[in-house]
């Protein structure tokens, strides 16, 4: 469809006929398919034909997704499923992608590609109306179809970097990229003879003979497996499949998958209770724990956790389970963060306590210490409220260990030294005798050996005040209990002791190897190759750079520190470039963003290369910038960071509530039937499969913080939290200072990108409008009923 021809159709945006159905109606229009449309609208038919010449490519667009190039494009779009199943791809290459198959009639065929209803909307009511109406009778408004304009075309017909790179520049993702192992989790058999290695990239579980170091076998599991646990007898192996939302049960003797059990969204950690009767699976994408019956092999109930449950450990007596969380609670705006350890009572399978870990985030690995009644867990202390103006003295991020005592008390100590950080602590294991703990530094490619006795002595010898205020913030104290640091492979993410405590195994995620440590002297005795490609592709190199803290001064943090799994850590930052104290900037996900340029909330970076270029070095890493080849590798990796499946998005399509929300989202009139100005429509800015126009827009969210630092702005009572939330707007406008435009964010998987708005002021989607749309410039929501608003939110979550 040519833009010129379509432009002729855009005769009046204000006269666009109301959308698919009335906003308040429960009668939905279904997609009928072009064969039905052509019954009347074919050339020479009873009704007028389409004003736009039939475009063969529209009909072939679905087929394009089956071509070899499509998989390479999809890889650059963060698509983790086949292109023919991806809502992102189908959004432009097919019709009814957004609504899903539930909302199509049998006459509809997705293989027909971009059909009439792609532009005109679902047509079943229209068809039925005309079929049943008598000649000369008016047709009800809901039967009328959407009249597209040029903007409708541009939602898809726009520059897409992913397509350009593949179709014009000839990029093909190397086969090796799909063949790496990426070991991320370990478990060892009760006799210590077999080591089970979860390989995230190859979607498999590898079994290693610990005595010979040879690979005994490999079992295909679900998509993006993340954790492994053994039943008490070692006969059953449990593997969580993060992108499949399942738990694989494997018979250790036959190395066969027995079954896959559906669990919650993005299952990560897994563990059984001491008896093996219950299996606990952490749904990190859904902030919950699925409790399963091992006997019945089904989920019996679900527990609520904090944000991003990650790892789980059992107390030595088996009475409790401890759950860490990779993200902190979204507290009040610009207040210190805190995280939670969820304590589960195994006898009843319920949450028993939620100890708070103050000012810490990134709680990942956890292990109980036999004989001491304490559990150790890894943590980060991110100084997100402090301007990011230097890195010395632990200015940006510090890394350490937490101690959870039986009474719920939590202590924190740092593993950093002033000029030698211990970036991205990801896992911890404790020797069977409780003497030593090993902690991995994913960013530093090291393992720290902690003398647990000295650690406990060190902590308990301090006063309560020092334990609360000094130890969590004091670098160098680690020299009192860290015996040594051992260099291992790239990006160590998991560690486990052998049952007899003589050996420890470290999974080096990004060089596909296992480092074997002899624990007598904590020396490296062997490195086991897991059989990944020997070739390091550019993308793989970029992945290594992404996870390497040596890119920052003092090795303080890596890209991954703020973007775990390429996503967010849920925090806002005060970055020097735009003036300190002002412009708090919400951290944004890196998943599937290649086609969403420009970048930054100001929308000033047209490419990832610029985003990660010299400015990043000046204001973030404070070291030399990436070399051109490093930058190329890094950005290539970022392009491929995958987006997990959306739990609010059923394979069948939108729910009824979401469908109603979609109608609100796409509406062109108010509830009163008044035309909705183009600038007030959601789809004006949030169009296309990514739901972004990739432009900037002023939606009235400029706040007190966003003014130039030298401006004379009225003082604000910051102690008045209620006033503070919205006040930024009131005060700002009262000062008569022009408001600013910000980048229109994409909305894919927006449900898990809290907090929201450019400064992260909105902890939930709802608050964007109920609290921070004071000026009424962020679309039009004032006329919506409560149900309509809730439907809209439900729809957004499913994008």
């Amino acid at each position: 469809m040519s833009g010129a021809r379509v432009g002729g159709l855009a005769y009046s945006a204000l006269l666009i006929i109301p959308g698919i159905v009335a906003a308040t109606g429960d009668e939905f229009s279904y997609y009928v398919g072009q064969s039905v449309c052509l019954e009347c609208h074919a050339p020479g038919g009873a009704a007028s034909a389409c004003g736009v010449d039939p475009i063969p490519k529209h009909g072939q667009s679905f087929d394009a997704l089956t071509r070899e190039e499509a998989s390479h494009i999809a890889a650059l779009c963060g698509v983790s499923c086949p292109p023919t199943e991806s809502q992102i791809c189908l959004g432009c290459h097919a019709t009814a992608a957004t609504t899903g198959p539930r909302w199509t009639k049998p006459t509809f065929d997705v293989n027909d590609g971009v059909q009439c209803e792609s532009c005109h909307g679902a047509g079943s009511i229209h068809v039925e109306s005309f079929r049943t109406s008598r000649a000369g009778e008016p047709v009800q408004s809901a039967a009328r179809l959407r009249i597209p304009d040029s903007d409708s075309c541009s939602a898809c017909h726009r520059e897409r970097a992913s397509h350009r790179v593949v179709l014009e520049e000839g990029y093909r993702r190397p086969a090796a990229d799909q063949q790496y192992r990426t070991p991320v989790s370990l478990a060892i058999s009760p006799d210590g003879g077999q080591l089970y290695v979860v390989c995230e990239r190859s979607d498999s579980l590898v079994e290693v003979d610990t005595r010979s170091g040879t690979l005994l076998g490999e079992v295909a599991v679900g998509h993006r497996p993340s954790d492994v646990a053994l039943g008490p007898d070692g006969r059953t192996i449990y593997v969580t499949n993060r992108f499949s939302n399942t738990l694989s049960l494997i018979d250790s003797s036959t190395r066969k998958v027995i079954t896959g059990i559906p669990v919650g969204h993005e299952p990560h950690g897994v563990l059984t209770d001491a008896s093996g009767d219950r299996i606990y699976v952490l749904n990190t994408g859904q902030d919950s724990v699925s409790v399963l019956s091992a006997k019945e092999r089904r989920e019996t109930h679900r527990l609520t956790t904090g944000p991003g449950p990650w790892s789980i450990a059992r107390s030595p007596d088996g009475s409790s389970l401890y759950v860490t969380h990779v993200r902190p609670y979204p507290g009040p705006f610009l207040t210190p963060l805190h995280s939670e350890i969820t304590v589960i009572e195994t006898k009843r399978g319920v949450v028993a306590a939620r100890p708070v870990v103050a000012e810490a985030n990134g709680l990942e690995g956890i292990a109980s210490v036999p004989g001491h009644g304490v559990a150790l867990f890894t943590l980060m202390r991110t100084k997100n409220l402090v301007p990011l103006t230097r890195l010395g003295q632990g200015w940006a991020i510090t890394n350490g260990l937490g101690l959870l005592w039986p009474d719920g008390r939590v202590d924190q100590v740092l593993l950093d030294e002033p000029a030698a950080s211990f970036a991205d602590p990801g896992d911890v294991a404790v020797s069977p005798d409780g003497r030593f703990a090993l902690v991995t530094s994913g960013g530093g490619n090291e393992v720290a050996v902690v003398d647990v006795g000295k650690l406990i002595q060190f902590v308990t010898s301090n006063s309560d005040l020092r334990r609360r205020e000094v130890l969590p913030n004091h670098m160098g104290s680690g020299t009192d209990f860290v015996v040594r640091r051992i260099s291992v492979g790239k990006n160590p993410r998991a560690v486990v002791f052998s049952p007899d405590g003589r050996f420890a195994y470290v999974a080096n995620a990004l060089d596909d190897s296992i480092t074997v440590l002899e624990t007598g002297g904590f020396t490296v005795t062997r490195v086991i190759d897991l059989g990944g490609p020997s070739e390091v592709t550019e993308t793989r190199w970029g992945e290594q750079l992404f996870h390497d803290a040596r890119i920052t001064f003092g090795g303080q943090f890596s890209c991954r520190s703020c973007h775990p799994d390429g996503h967010i850590n849920g925090l806002t930052f005060d970055i020097e470039a735009d003036g300190i104290g002002m412009h708090p900037s919400d951290n944004r996900t890196l998943r599937g963003i290649f086609d969403t340029a420009p970048f930054k909330w100001e929308g000033t970076n047209p490419s990832l290369e610029r985003q990660c270029g010299p400015r990043l070095a000046v204001f973030f890493t404070r070291l030399a910038p990436f070399t051109p080849s490093e930058l190329s590798a890094l950005t290539k990796y970022i392009r491929t960071i995958e987006r997990p499946p959306n739990p609010y998005r059923s394979p069948e399509g939108l729910t009824v509530s979401q469908r109603r929300g979609q109608i609100v989202f796409e509406r062109t009139t108010t509830n009163n039937g008044e035309p909705l100005p183009v600038g007030k429509r959601c789809v004006t800015c949030h169009s296309g499969p990514y739901a972004t126009s990739r432009t900037s827009a002023d939606v009235g969210t400029t706040m007190w913080f966003d003014v130039p630092i030298s401006s004379e702005v009225p003082d604000v009572d910051f102690d008045d939290i209620e006033q503070y939330g919205a006040m930024g707007l009131y005060y700002f406008v009262d000062a008569g200072i022009p408001t600013k435009s910000f980048d229109v964010p994409h909305l894919t998987n927006i449900f898990d990108s809290a907090p929201y708005l450019h400064n992260g002021v909105a902890p939930t989607l709802e608050l964007i409008w109920t609290r921070f749309d004071v000026l009424g410039k962020h679309g039009m929501t004032g006329d919506l009923s409560r149900r309509q608003f809730n439907d809209l939110i439900e729809y957004l979550k499913g994008l």
Binding site: T389, R390, A419, G581, P614, A617, V618, L623, P628
Partner: protein, 562 residues
Amino acid sequence: MILPNLKFIAKHLPASFAETGVLSRSLRFRGGRRFTRCVIVAFCYLWPTAFHAAGEEETRSLDRASSPTTKTLTSRLIFTQVPINALAASSQRVAPVDRTLPDGSRIVLFDPANSDKGVINLTRGFLAAGRPNLSFDGKKVLFVAKRFPGYPFDVWEMNTDGSGLRRITENVGNCTAAIHLSTMYTMHSQEPVYQIAFCSEGEPASARAIHTCRMDGSRVRRITFDPHGVHDPLMLSDGRLVFGGGQPGVSADLIGGRPSFSTVQACGSDLSIFAAGRGRSLAVGMPCETLDGEVIYVECRSRGWDGGGSLVSVPRSRSLHDGRVLADEPSDTYHSPSALTDGGLLVSYRPAKGGTFGLYVFDPVRGKRTARVFDAPDWHDVFALAVHSRPIPAGRSTVVDESNDTGLLYCLDAYLSDRSSRDARNGRIDRVQVFRTVRHLSGEVSVDESGVLPPFDGYSLVEELLGDAKVESDGSFFLKIPARTPLRLQTIDSAGQLIEAMTSSFWVMPNETRGCIGCHEDRERTPPNRYPLALRSPPQLVGVGSKRSTGPGLEPGEEHVK
């Protein structure tokens, strides 16, 4: 009459002249004395290079008698030789560099594998030369040298065999030491800038400072502003520049008041304390870094021309703690350690009973000298380096903008201090005063028998109150202050009574935003994760612009002499 002319010529002709020829330049001079001047010019610029080329064999014969006693080293060594007879004549009032590198000092090359050949003088043609510094690839040597009496020490560069000689700095005062720097970047370019850093004593009233410049001597920028002066820069592997400083010859309880090492980034920003002299140390200097991250330096407890003393080691990762004295002979004198590739050290040492400095291999683990490498009886053999490549330190991206003349300073919580409890001071801090420190010549100079200047000899520090600013109830403040200026802060209560005072100076670089955690907090303390009240308003201007706030205590412009 010749000397002034030489100075004039040296000042006005480019440094590259020694390499690019003489005759064309000599045509500039007119009049009846043209020929003489041409000869002078040619002599002046060719002397070092010409004599160097011809002097190797002669030098070998001169030092053949100085045979080493061990062949444990395989790398060639480059070091400074200071003639012992020249030291006696330098006990008058001279620039410090002239005391440590008196006339006749030279840089020599010694090959342990061919020890019978003695040393090769690499700097023949210079009146005095010393302080070699190797490039990271081990191929180039920076050093300081002067050619004529009364001339300043400039920074020169040569290959490790003495060829490729060229002058880098010119008219930047007496250069006392020079080092290679890692790469520097700005936000506008991915292309690295290659620089060196050098210590220079400029005008008499100014303190010795570290400057940086490009490899061709251009773009000279001063990056330290300590009014007491700084010395002995070292590029650490993590990209920081460490240097000695602090109040010379003064022992104090406070870090800022005693000899100490500080670090800056290679752009001069992010000034931080690195390590402090212990107990009664008079000076610390001559640091080196081993491959395993230990920083070894010399701690001087008695006055002497050489600054020698004990060897002290601190881990770079935790330099303010865990220091240990390496040598078990505290009465002996160590000098200018440098790192060897096998974990050992190359040090200069002379026993307490006297004698000259010789070169030794030192085992830092056992705290023992393990082998004597070289010792010439008529020379002090110091500042030795083994010729080998070493890893390039981390590069740096800088926010410094030379077009700006201000920087920002914010403090998160002035109540955080290791000197007194927070409870005792809670709520008392009302304002922060900002003083500018000015160094003044005080006229009379007293020199002790060793020729070393006592503390504050020849200068005094005068402070001017630039202004003061409000401290918020949470202890935070946010200032815009002049850049490139030695400043000092003190907090006062509402009655103007002093609560806390810095004992040392700090500075900000142009466009730098410098953050402090507290006032004399434990330097291993990390910042509390709080959004400070002070950052919710624009910075208060102190000493910049027209706005100058006042409060209790001294009025702006009022001075007091420290």
